[in-house]
């Protein structure tokens, strides 16, 4: 009944909106410039691929993809000069979306760098691989700037489908196919939940535009349907960020997928999904989110850490650790909107830097056919490859949350946002969890430095590309750990713009209704 009523109610507005087609102004294209650049390079790679010699195309295609991400980064700066909405209120460029654009593209760039050597050894066809990474990145970028639920859904699908395929790229290995299929089946199921949530939200508020939803939900008198819609959308996004109880796929998928892809998909799509979650929860002011998130955050970090304690495979261990980190991040979502948003944004950045870095080291070390991913294989690594071991230790320290690393400040801001919002219970759970977490990260460090090497695990020289990728991650982690001020200020400012602008009750979105 309510759906029909709401639809009937909003019909005149929708009809009024339907105007004869007009080409969008040029500025609108500027506002999706990074997406355009990335798509262009993605297609270019696929066109060039058949023209090149199969065996030697890895290097050139990889370089092309890397240049693509650099160009996209540059265009992000350009895009930032054109704040505002584009394409009839579908996309909005603001501090928030620029931040996530930058982050996601940087993650893709580093993932591409760390794949060079991997593809060669694994004999993976480079054209499709790099093309999919770039196109997936388009989806992630769009997720962060879309302010319309249907567009968000489409962006989500673009990013997800690319990652489903990427997970299965070690074709000769059964585990990889298993990983891909599992990810695909469960992922589609979860996206369906999200879509269902979108539909119900439309029913409840009469719109799929986040601005309008936010306005309706803030005006009081929230229909029950909106609660259900929030829950369903949370299921869909919760799957993407691997929050409990929708996290079960993570270890299996991460274990089977190629290591550089795991580095990408444990951070990129996750960051984008968190961006969507921030929009849906905070910007749209989703009702009933507090306990939903509270319970999920507590469960996620606890289950993630407990699971990680008993792992003997490094990839699985880091998979569980990434679940735990999603839980820490979710804690920020239970805090006050403004504090929570900026803490969550900073956390995503720091988490991306350290996790991509850790996976870059692991994928170099696992090398030939991913044989060496057991914890025992890391024994004595500190002696045989001091640089590799030291960088991995640094990333692990950041994951533990030791000072001078980005991970420390990230956790710190989340904790302080939670405490400022009087979430003492959740804070204590987080504190206890990070103490537990120290143990399993320490196991890797102990293995590397305090055990004698067993058997013959070859350590090859770090190739230039992977070295560059690791160096970028180390520098980013260090930067966020020593002088986090600038990034944090930026996050705080964009969080203010995102939230405060909308908490003033009478502000309406520009195109639907004239300003009062």
């Amino acid at each position: 009944m309510t759906i029909v009523a709401a639809f009937a109610h909003s019909l005149p507005a929708l009809l009024a909106q339907a105007q004869p087609f007009q080409a969008p102004p040029l500025a609108d294209y500027m506002r999706i410039l990074p997406e355009l650049v990335l798509s262009l390079f993605g297609m270019l790679i696929m066109i060039v691929d058949p023209l090149l010699d199969q065996e030697n195309s890895h290097q050139s295609l990889g370089t092309l993809a890397f240049i693509g991400t650099l160009a996209a980064l540059a265009s992000t700066f350009w895009m930032a000069q054109y704040p505002g909405t584009a394409f009839s209120n579908m996309v909005r460029v603001e501090g928030f979306s620029v931040f996530f654009h930058f982050l996601v593209i940087a993650i893709a760039a580093v993932a591409i760098l760390s794949s060079f050597e991997y593809l060669k050894v694994q004999r993976i066809r480079a054209g499709e691989y790099y093309g999919l990474i770039l196109l997936g990145t388009v989806g992630m970028c769009l997720m962060s700037s879309a302010i319309e639920l249907v567009l968000i859904f489409i962006a989500l699908e673009i990013s997800s489908i690319s990652t489903y395929v990427l997970a299965g790229f070690r074709r000769r290995d059964g585990a990889s196919s298993e990983s891909s299929l599992k990810y695909f089946l469960l992922g589609s199921f979860a996206t369906a939940f999200f879509l269902y949530g979108v539909a119900l939200m439309f029913g409840a508020t009469g719109s799929t535009s986040i601005d309008t939803i936010s306005q309706v939900l803030r005006s009081g008198n929230v229909p029950v349907l909106a609660y259900v819609a929030t829950a369903l959308m949370f299921v869909g996004l919760g799957f993407k960020v691997a929050s409990a109880p929708f996290h079960v796929w993570t270890p299996d998928v991460y274990e089977g997928a190629p290591a550089p892809v795991v580095g990408l998909m444990s951070t990129g799509p996750k960051a984008a999904a968190f961006a969507v979650l921030l929009r849906v929860m905070f910007e749209a002011n989703a009702p009933g989110r507090f306990w939903l998130i509270w319970v999920s955050a507590a469960l996620t970090m606890t289950l993630g850490n407990v699971g990680a304690l008993v792992q003997s495979n490094v990839k699985r261990l880091l998979a569980y650790s990434s679940i735990a980190h999603a839980g820490y991040l979710l804690t920020a979502f239970a805090a006050q909107p403004e504090l929570g948003t900026s803490a969550a944004m900073f956390y995503t950045a720091a988490y991306a830097a350290m996790n991509v870095g850790a996976f870059a080291v692991i994928s170099h070390f696992a090398n030939a056919g991913e044989k060496y991913v057991a914890l025992e294989d890391y024994a004595g690594l500190g002696r045989r490859s001091p640089v590799l071991a030291a960088t991995l230790t640094f990333f692990l320290m950041s994951l533990i949350g030791i000072p001078i690393t980005g991970g420390f400040f990230a956790k710190f801001y989340v904790l302080s946002a939670a405490l400022k919002s009087n979430l003492v219970g959740l804070t204590l759970i987080l504190v206890l969890n990070s103490a537990v977490a120290a143990y399993y990260y320490l196991r890797i460090i102990v293995m590397m430095y305090m055990r004698e090497p067993r058997g013959v695990v070859p350590v090859t020289r770090i190739p230039a590309a992977a070295g560059l990728a690791i160096a970028v991650c180390v520098l980013a982690t260090l930067y966020l750990g020593v002088v986090p001020g600038r990034v944090l200020d930026y996050a705080a400012q964009s969080a203010r713009d995102l939230i405060s602008a909308r908490t003033v009750p009478a502000v309406s979105s520009a195109s639907l209704a004239p300003k009062p």
Binding site: P403, L428, V431, A438, M450
Partner: protein, 506 residues
């Protein structure tokens, strides 16, 4: 050059010279001798720089001297705020004093991964000094956590026996404890908007922190757990014997000499400084724990067959004195507590060095393996005797001054505490002198011990400063106490009088 002009930056210099040296070692090629020499020069440089502090300590009205206060991160409001008073001053000097000796003592005992060893040692030194000099709670936490990894790696990489177990246990105990402190620090920040020690302190004293009455006990305990683990206070001490026994000699020296003092320093500076009322309210049970630690540590020491474990448990006992002195809230007790921190650092640091020297020769710490060592190693025996006497608190040695002050403070607080604690002094002479007798006197029971070489020049150079310091601190304690006393007076005791006057005023 006017040396006073150094004062604003001297604390940063002292703190960061070692770490900078550690980073430079990264660039030195792996020639062990060069690395050792360089580490020695750096650590001596830090020591010399730190001597600036007591020499130029002005007696003025400022509580903290050599202050430097710069904004590190604007939002959240984190400052690079350093400064020292009479309490932290000597702990800084103690750290810089012990580190060159650690370098000397590790000269031959560390023979592989030498480069990493000295880098870790120097980074550890920076972190330790930073703990004592920071006046911003965030900065303090930063350095506090930064001591964790280098120490754990030193134990795990260069230790012996069950070194991995010991390193992980050490790491987890300290880590879990300090998470509670972090939560407490963040709570204070959320309510006061500042991490600055002085700002928070005055906000608490003026009663403008919302919700403080309900939270103060929990905050006090949050800090207390972190510090009690580090001290270590009974029953949280179980990591200590493991860490000590398995650690390399330099690790043990710094662990006993300085790391444990981080705990007692924290109790004094933060638990007592920020929560004077809670500290007084909770003093009875904390003093009981300290007493249990004193007596229990001594009794366990008595039966240890392992020399290093014996010294480790004696630390539990001695640090109990410090806690007892702090929570007696008397002038004598507090002065004594700070003095015991210093004298324990010197004497127990010395004992660990001596134990390390004999381990290098015989590769065992078992007391039963020795006997009659005074005959083949007379110089070693002499140094050992001096250090043992300093540790048991013989008058005119440094141990005596501190323990005496603590005991008289404890008597003032409650006679029974003084009486019980005094038995600890007796026990300590029992276990240390008995060990000395078993190791050095009598006939040489194991033939191999006859062939042990006596101390060489390097080892004597490393041990002499300990012996001299033990003696000088015992003969002229006023040099130290004249800086300590005003600090504890104004710092830990003044709040009571202020508090009392405020209550009377109501």
């Amino acid at each position: 050059m006017n040396m006073d002009s150094l004062s604003p930056i001297i604390l940063s210099l002292v703190t960061f010279i070692p770490a900078a040296g550690g980073l430079l070692i990264l660039l030195i090629p792996r020639r062990d001798r060069d690395i050792k020499l360089f580490a020695l020069v750096i650590s001596i440089l830090a020591f010399v720089a730190s001597l600036h502090l007591p020499v130029h300590l002005h007696r003025d009205h400022n509580l903290f001297k050599f202050e430097i206060d710069k904004i590190w991160i604007a939002s959240p409001n984190i400052h690079y705020h350093m400064g020292i008073d009479g309490i932290s001053l000597w702990l800084v000097v103690l750290t810089t004093f012990l580190t060159p000796l650690c370098v000397l003592i590790s000269w031959t005992s560390v023979h592989e991964r030498v480069k990493e060893f000295f880098i870790l040692l120097l980074i550890l030194e920076t972190a330790l000094i930073g703990v004592f000099t920071s006046l911003d709670l965030f900065l303090f936490y930063f350095f506090w956590e930064a001591t964790l990894i280098p120490m754990a790696l030193l134990i795990g990489m260069y230790g012996h026996g069950r070194k991995v177990y010991a390193a992980v246990k050490y790491f987890l105990f300290t880590m879990i404890g300090s998470m509670f402190m972090l939560a407490a620090i963040l709570w204070l920040y959320a309510k006061t908007g500042s991490f600055d020690f002085a700002v928070i302190q005055s906000a608490i004293r003026s009663g403008t922190v919302p919700g403080f009455e309900h939270a103060s006990l929990w905050l006090f305990l949050g800090f207390f757990i972190a510090f009690a683990v580090k001290v270590p206070l009974f029953p949280l001490h179980t990591w200590l014997p493991d860490a000590h026994v398995e650690a390399p000699t330099a690790g043990s020296v710094l662990l006993a000499g300085v790391l444990l003092k981080m705990g007692t320093y924290g109790l004094l500076r933060f638990d007592v400084g920020l929560f004077p009322e809670q500290a007084r309210r909770n003093a009875p049970w904390i003093m009981v724990l300290a007493l249990i630690g004193i007596i229990y540590g001594a009794l366990v020491s008595l039966v240890q067959p392992n020399m290093k474990k014996l010294i480790a448990y004696s630390s539990v006992s001695h640090l109990g004195f410090v806690v007892l002195g702090i929570f007696s809230f008397t002038t004598a007790g507090l002065n004594g507590a700070v003095f015991v921190m210093l004298s324990h650092g010197v004497a127990t640091g010395g004992l660990f060095m001596l134990a390390g020297l004999i381990y290098e020769r015989r590769h065992t710490y078992e007391i039963a393996e020795f006997g009659g060592l005074a005959t083949p190693m007379p110089k070693y025996a002499t140094f050992f005797l001096v250090t043992v006497l300093a540790s048991v608190g013989l008058p005119l040695m440094n141990g005596f001054i501190g323990e005496f002050l603590v005991l008289s403070g404890a008597f003032q607080a409650r006679p029974i505490y003084g009486i019980l604690a005094a038995t600890g002094v007796i026990w300590s002479s029992c276990y240390l002198l008995w060990m000395y007798q078993r190791v050095f006197y009598g006939k040489v029971t194991h033939e191999i011990n006859n062939t042990l070489p006596d101390l060489n020049l390097r080892e004597k150079t490393a041990l002499s400063p300990i012996a001299i310091a033990a003696l000088v601190m015992g003969v002229a304690p006023l040099v130290w106490l004249s800086a300590i006393d005003p600090a504890v007076q104004r710092y830990a005791l003044a709040p009571v009088t202020q508090l009392a006057s405020r209550m009377v005023g109501r």
